[in-house]
Amino acid sequence: MNEATTRRSVFAALLVLLPAALLLATAAGSVPLPLRSVLGSLGSAVGIGSAGASPLGSSGETILWSVRLPRVLLAVLVGGGLAVVGAALQSVFRNPMADAGLLGVGSGAALGAVLAANLGWTAQVFLALPLMAFAGALAAVGAVYVLAHASGRPTLHGLLLTGLAVAALASAGTSVVLAATEEFRVRTVLFWLAGGLEGRSWTHLRLAAAFILTGTALLLLLSRPLDLLSLGEEEAAALGLPVHRARLTILALASLIAGAATAVAGSVPFVGLVAPHALRPLVGPLGRRLLPAAFLGGALLVVVADLGSRTFSDRVDLPLGALTAFVGAPYFLLALRATEGRP
């Protein structure tokens, strides 16, 4: 099988599996909805099929449209967005272990979320937690940018070290604020920190979609500069790429996407590492193929993981973030052992 056929089969498989997983995830849950009725309800909403009485009944309709659909679509956005960010950052940093954590996104978001809880905003203001988490993520990335530029143009290495330092500071801040927060408020934010999509609404979806879809589209447009960056700074510059500007633009877009995904879903680790890593050998490292494949693969991963987290057990809560880590970490250990460390 040549690589063009492989590529086409991979995309075809993803394009079949993702809608199938979506449908399954909307139907399955603590209140199972019949697949046929779900299809009927979705169909009549877009004008296909009969517009008669809903086969789901009114409670079924509510579950489908107010609970399940926003949740699974958010899983698509979060998974897709995080995987695209991982793929892009791995090209920029030329390291298969790179993800948004390097820029301080996760730690900044956590600090923002914890602050919102400490101030009591999470109970009073709608969307206070995701908005503060988003603001925290962007503030952390902004701090990395400013600190790294304090002594001229930073090298890749300088950016990385600054990112690590800012992330460590933000985590320290999170601990301090958490310790000073009343216990009943800590609980909301702990659930968020563990990563999950429980109870997310269409508003969360719209907030995430605005940044994740726009950011992903722009990254896709920049896939050629991204490819050049993966060749190393020197070769990229010799081919006429304004390396510094291209790198910062891509990092800014990645931060927006990762910030929005983390804001609505909390920490969902390993999606940004596993999806690009699994797909790169199949579709190649070029951005115009890897980014769309990573989006679909990451989306599939999180839709399935979220379905698993809410159907795993009636008695045990298995947070989405814990589940992706339980699956992702061993995968990654095995995959890294099997191959050398180059992307």
């Binding site: 993966s230 060749l231 070769e235 010799a238 006429g240 490292p285």
Partner: protein, 262 residues
């Protein structure tokens, strides 16, 4: 363009890397269709000089001119269409195919957004053909030998269709057969008027290939001229700290060199 005007010219340039000055008042010119070998001991400043000529390192004094125009007046893309740099660094992703690697050499022509044209595809195909790696086109770089990857990097430089080709140790990873092929390729593009400047460690190879040799030592041009004049000179012996002797061998176009402790 004036035929006598150099394609690439350094005029008394000083270049710093970090805090220390690596090149001191170096002047060098490269004309269309020329084959110039840049030789010198380790850490002499050869790689720095090549990168300065490609516009990758700023000069602290003096200037680099490409086709008579100072580097800073060149737009990045236009410069990358005029001057290509090929090094022996291996940083490209292991999963990248040879063909896609070479196609990235069209970036100076296509820019970030313009779709690939028939002209782009033809340039890539020709670069693959010239370097005799067509059969590897679909292979991932990680599955190739170091020498094959080096040829793929050269093909990327050829796909740029530059007027001047600058190479930093292009034969570093190549066995003798691939080395021969590489210098044949360089002669082919030279025949089309491309100026070629290569950093070469193998003095025998450099002498056999180059029309002109530039010896760099301690960040300065220590000698310049025909390879035989440079290698026979006092400066080469001093720079490499060896005694260099040329031996004429009947039936060989070039003398064979022997190197002994000074």
């Amino acid at each position: 363009m004036n035929a006598a005007e150099p394609l690439v010219e350094a005029r008394e340039i000083c270049v710093k890397r970090g805090r220390s000055e690596v090149l001191h008042d170096v002047s060098l010119s490269l004309h269309a269709g020329e084959a110039v070998a840049l030789v010198g001991p380790n850490a002499a400043g050869k790689s720095t000089l090549v990168r300065s000529l490609a516009g990758l390192l700023p000069t602290t004094r003096g200037r680099v001119l490409v086709r008579g125009r100072p580097l800073r007046e060149w737009e990045r893309g236009a410069l990358a269409r005029a001057v290509a740099l090929v090094t022996s660094e291996e940083e490209a992703p292991a999963t990248l195919t040879v063909e896609d690697r070479v196609a990235l050499g069209r970036y100076p022509h296509s820019g970030p957004f313009r779709p690939f044209t028939a002209e782009d595809r033809a340039a890539v195909a020709q670069a693959l053909r010239q370097t005799s790696i067509e059969r590897l086109a679909r292979r991932a770089l990680g599955t190739l030998s170091a020498g094959e990857r080096q040829l793929a990097t050269l093909a990327r430089g050829l796909a740029q269709e530059p007027q001047a080709l600058l190479l930093d140790e292009p034969s570093a990873h190549l066995d003798v057969g691939h080395q021969l092929r590489l210098f044949q390729v360089l002669d082919e593009v030279r025949a089309h008027g491309v100026a070629v400047l290569a950093v070469i460690h193998d003095l025998q190879r450099a002498a056999a290939w180059a029309g002109r040799m530039v010896l760099v030592a301690g960040g300065r041009v220590a000698a310049e001229g025909t390879p035989h004049a440079v290698l026979a000179g006092e400066a080469a012996a001093r720079a490499f700290e060896v005694a260099i002797r040329g031996h004429a061998v009947p039936g060989l176009a070039h003398p064979l060199y022997s190197f002994d402790e000074a």
